[in-house]
């Protein structure tokens, strides 16, 4: 008799490579040890996984590599609490557990044929990265793609190895910004919402996808509204403390919406319809 | 005017300057009173005084940081207020204390057992009256008279502070404390009489019954780190979530040690326990040690510093140099 699917049992995976992105963000590239499961693994951009180290526990992260690049699954971890601090101690060759895919995904099908504006702040670039790369890998399906990515300082910019490509590609308009002047910085200086107003993307046939710290989201939403974006043209992702990741354990709900299964991706219109408990 | 009416008048006079005044009102059935948060005169009219006021309203005071609140206290509750003041957990300028002489509160577990003995369920109570000496409880169509001295809380049997030890408004004439009842410390005596293995078995039995709801912790007016409690913390990770007597006893011991010399023996930990586990005995035991070593009782003198919260080069009662 084969055991029924056990949603609590992670896949054992090995860390292939890590990247110390910033002083507090570390990227992990992992593959399931079971190659057949790795080959069969499917997910959609925006879905999350529970990454765990045995003895430490699990934490939820977006799979920030795109489904079009399945050499490994990539998770970028900002050090904040107990689990993330311990995860930062792991290196290539170490074993982790992965429960994925969990949660919903970006409406990447419905976005086909539309212009896309990505607005990412800090670690908020991670969930955007999966969709951004997916779109680059399916470039013909989408209209103009604009990326605005900001961080506090150059040293706080994750994915720095990829930034030269993102800024030099002709088929995307990439703008990088930092909060304050810094030596050797060749890009924009200014807060993300202000730079967004300067860039002034047109709302017609466009979807804005934004993720970042709460204060940035607050002002980015205001800027997008000012630019004429409707609530259902704005997509964002939420974070909550999660345990089970499968809609049972009861802590990530906002009213009757469970962020672990009904989210983490919500349109601004959907968010406004939820009770006010972020 | 009855004393209760006079108390209400005093509260109403003070209410405009206060966030609220905490007292008691009738609860969901005649056997249960429940804490009352008075914000309007109409709320004050709901105030009750009597043996059903089993809760210690001091537990709420630290949650009103920066706000000025009033609190109605029994003598035992006032000791918790004083201990909170002693530890600077509340600010004297931000609390107005209303007191009345207290002749004791009931122990709901004892009442429940009495009713069970009479063949009726405490869940079916339809009326409760008391004349100061006897509580008469009507349940399942029959009335059972219970002498207050027999169903009062154990703490009332040893109470030396029937009047508020500190009050801004005191209604009524202070009463003299009674001589401690013979059985007031029967719980400690029973534990003292046990051998160590017996005592361990006693606690193991009770801890296996614990459901880890932490009502004991959250009902304790002196347990102020409850949101950051070691029992649920992963950093440090001293306790597991294993549902075992060992883990649960570990929490009780940590809790009791934190309360050594701070606990006023209000008994809320034990009263709050839905499984009726006698957890107060742990605190009473440590308090007895503190009393012997330091000649100190918590929550009696607002100026006193609890012995374990201070460093003295030489303690008055500990002759360590002569050891």
């Amino acid at each position: 008799m084969t055991d029924p699917f056990n949603p609590y049992l992670p896949e054992v995976a090995t860390i292939l490579e890590t990247v110390q992105e910033t002083h507090n963000i570390k990227t992990f590239r992992v593959r399931f040890d079971d190659e057949a499961k790795m080959a069969a693994f499917k997910f959609e951009p925006g879905q999350v996984g529970q990454l765990s180290a045995p003895g430490i526990g699990e934490s939820t992260f977006v799979i920030n590599s795109p489904p079009t690049r399945m050499d490994y699954l990539q998770f970028s971890v900002m050090r904040a609490g107990e689990v993330t601090t311990m995860l930062h101690g792991l290196n290539a060759g170490d074993k982790v557990g992965v429960r994925a895919p969990l949660g919903n995904c970006f409406p990447y099908e419905a976005m086909k044929g539309k212009n896309i504006v990505f607005v990412g702040g800090g670690i908020g670039m991670a969930p955007l990265r999966t969709l951004f790369l997916y779109m680059l890998d399916n470039r013909a399906d989408y209209g103009d793609i604009t990326l605005l990515y900001g961080a506090r300082s150059p040293a706080d910019m994750a994915f720095s190895a990829e930034l030269p490509e993102w800024t030099s590609r002709a088929d995307v308009n990439t703008t990088l910004t930092i909060d304050r002047e810094a030596d050797g910085w060749a890009h924009k200086v200014g807060l993300i919402p202000n730079v967004l107003l300067e860039l002034a993307p047109k709302p017609e046939n466009t979807v804005a996808v934004t993720c970042g710290p709460p204060i940035m989201i607050k002002f980015t939403l205001e800027a997008l509204k000012k630019l004429g974006f409707e609530d259902d043209q704005i997509v964002t992702t939420l974070e909550k403390r999660m345990k089970c990741g499968i809609g049972i354990c009861g802590r990530c709900n906002i009213g009757s919406s469970y962020v672990c299964v009904d989210g983490p991706v919500y349109t601004y219109a959907q968010l406004k319809a939820l009770p006010n408990e972020l | 005017m009855s004393r209760l009416e006079e108390l209400k008048t005093r509260i109403k006079e003070a209410l405009p300057g206060l966030e609220c005044v905490i007292g008691w009102q009738k609860g969901y059935d005649p056997l249960h009173n429940t804490p009352l948060f008075m914000r309007t005169d109409a709320d004050v009219d709901k105030l009750e005084w009597g043996p059903l006021n089993v809760h210690n309203p001091a537990v709420y005071l630290p949650t009103f940081t920066g706000k000025k609140v009033g609190v109605v206290v029994k003598g035992c509750d006032s000791r918790s207020v004083v201990e909170l003041l002693q530890e600077n957990l509340i600010n004297r300028d931000n609390v107005v204390i209303f007191g009345m002489p207290c002749t004791g509160v009931i122990d709901l577990s004892k009442v429940k057992a009495r009713l069970a003995g009479a063949g009726v369920s405490a869940g079916t109570v339809t009326a409760v009256t008391d004349d100061g000496k006897t509580v008469s409880v009507t349940a399942g169509g029959q009335t059972t008279a219970m002498p207050l001295a027999e169903v009062r809380a154990d703490k009332c049997g040893r109470c030396q502070f029937p009047n508020a030890v500190l009050a801004d408004a005191y209604v009524g004439d202070p009463i003299a404390p009674a001589a401690p009842a013979a059985a007031a410390d029967a719980d400690l005596a029973a534990l003292d009489a046990m051998s160590v293995p017996e005592r361990m078995a006693f606690w193991r039995y009770h801890m296996e019954r614990c459901i880890r709801c932490y009502a004991c912790r959250n009902a304790c007016p002196m347990c102020v780190c409850r949101d950051h409690c070691i029992a649920q913390s992963r950093e440090p990770h001293w306790l597991t979530q294993d549902d075992t007597a060992t883990e649960k006893l570990m929490f009780q011991v940590v809790h009791a040690l934190h309360l050594a010399g701070r606990c006023t023996e209000c008994g809320e930990c034990q009263r709050a326990c839905p499984m009726d586990i006698p957890v107060l005995a742990l605190k009473k035991h440590l308090n007895r040690t503190i009393r012997d070593l330091f000649d100190y009782q918590a929550g009696v003198d607002p100026q006193a510093i609890p012995p374990l919260l201070q460093f003295k080069l030489e303690e008055d009662n500990i002759k360590e140099r002569s050891w």
């Binding site: 609590y8 609490g81 403390r241 709900n253 | 839905p274």
Partner: protein
Amino acid sequence: MAAVKYIASDKLPDWLKSLAAKSRVLVPVAEGGGVVFRPYAPGCRPVFDSDATAPPKGAVFPACQELFRYEQGKDPEDPGKPTLKLIASTEAEPTVVFGAKPCGARGFLIFDRVYIGKKFPDPYYIAAREATVFVTMACAAANVENTCFCHWVGSGPADGSGSDVLLTPVAGGYTAEAVTDKGAALLEDPALADGAAKADEAAAVKAAAREVLGEAPDIAASPAALLAAFDDADFWRDQSDKCVSCGACTYLCPTCYCFTITDEPKGMSGRRMRSWDACMHFQFTLEASGHNPRPTKAHRLKNRVGHKFSYYPTLHDGLVACCGCGRCIKSCPVSVDIREIVQNAVARAKG
């Protein structure tokens, strides 16, 4: 419907013994001033005339349960390579829960919709649920307590939903009705006799208990009313003022199903466990950043009441996530009354 059976009180130990020979039998027994479910052993005296202090929730959903064990090691071929092995077992012990009140058994109906979901069925829960049979004792009029409100939430003192067998106390013993096939199989025991002659008496006992409860207020508006009150901070302050934020209400609740997951390492191996958690605790929703979406007891009580009387019914065809047993009221150290809160919200919505 299957025929009504009857078991005389003095035959009950025989039936319990024969059940206990085949599986774990949990019965309500008096312990430490309360009533709790414990494994039946010959000579033990089950308590059927008062509702248990703690419901039989742990029979299917233990307070703490191992999800899997893990073993870390080193590859013997290449000691530089760490290895990790996970070992899980979802097996559950065959169990009969005997003598719970209808509300205690009904709690699992609320669990079922969450734990036996389409997308992520929970194998631990399902195994335990399938291995457990509920022989439930209907309430007689004398058992109805001041805190009972099963009739508010679509249930009643003789509600068999969630149970496999429904017993009803009658003179000299109990009638037994099978609710499910699993239950019918249990009634094929020589200790039970035909109960047709007792059927009318059982019906009268049930009707009398229902009569004592009286009429239930209409709380159909509670899902919308609680949502409408969501941002009314004064309302929730008033409802939660006296709450001390402990977990007595949730841990004693037959329908509260929330849990936490923690790892407990011991050297190179360890366990991942799930254990009961309570939405009334500050840490329940505390995020690693220090942010807490439910930072005060008002937020947390709002979620507890909201979940039971608004969010859950919204997701599950109007089914209220409360069985009306009243344990949260009876065992609350400060007598917070969920009935009052729901009614206050409904009254507030009416204006």
